[in-house]
Symmetry: C2
Subunit: 115 residues, 2 copies
DNA sequence: CAGAATCCCACGTGATACTG
DNA sequence: CAGTATCACGTGGGATTCTG
């Protein structure tokens, strides 16, 4: 899941910052805890994860719930507003399936010509 | 057109780099010359415009045609591949119309609470 | 467990000046 | 007209270490 070697950085359509789209995907099937993101999002640091989570929370796209247990537990869930992003997210994925190969081919061709 | 004061930087859905979406919009009704972009895209520098144009050309989204006249004339047009981006672009605009107010409101609310 | 605190670097963006 | 050449800067992303 979320292979860092995939050419998603070449995607012309982006949702939020570098990790937001993946975070939203992680949440579409239910709530998740902070440390659970670090499994599928291999390599993300706590600082960056916190930053992305805060940003999404600020925009009302996810909700942060603290359970004052010991040890501490924090859960993140998609808000209804956040769920509306799943549609454009799917649209972007559909576009990618249809046109990314052509884009990548054009890019290779261009690079080969200009060296 | 393309008011720099509009909250498009808050948009979670982005196409390409900072100016790409606007450039594509500029081209949807026909070809344009280099200097013609600088009118609607107020404030873009020649260096940045060149960079964005090159990037779009590299990905096969636009085509650059040089007419060896005096003075020199260069025209940019959308390729069929580039035209496929108009659909997600419209979808993003539709999303913005429906949900950006809620996002902005959530953001304001969040900022007011945290100070 | 869920982060906060620091330090650091690359890169996207931009201002300014110059050229075939 | 359509760029190129420099220089400069903020910030998003990351590595590492520490804490309630």
């Amino acid at each position: 899941m979320f292979d860092p070697a995939c050419p998603s950085n070449a995607m012309p359509i982006k949702i939020g910052d570098k990790w937001s789209a993946a975070i939203i995907r992680c949440l579409e099937d239910g709530p998740r805890r902070f440390s659970e993101f670090q499994i599928p999002l291999r390599g993300i640091t706590t600082k960056v994860l916190t930053g992305s989570l805060r940003s999404l929370e600020r925009d009302g796209l996810i909700e942060r719930t603290v359970y004052p247990e010991v040890p501490l537990r924090v859960e993140y869930t998609l808000t209804p507003l956040g769920r509306t992003l799943l549609e454009p997210l799917d649209a972007a994925a559909a576009w990618a399936r249809q046109h990314m190969p052509a884009l990548l081919a054009a890019r290779e061709e261009y690079d080969r010509r200009t060296v």
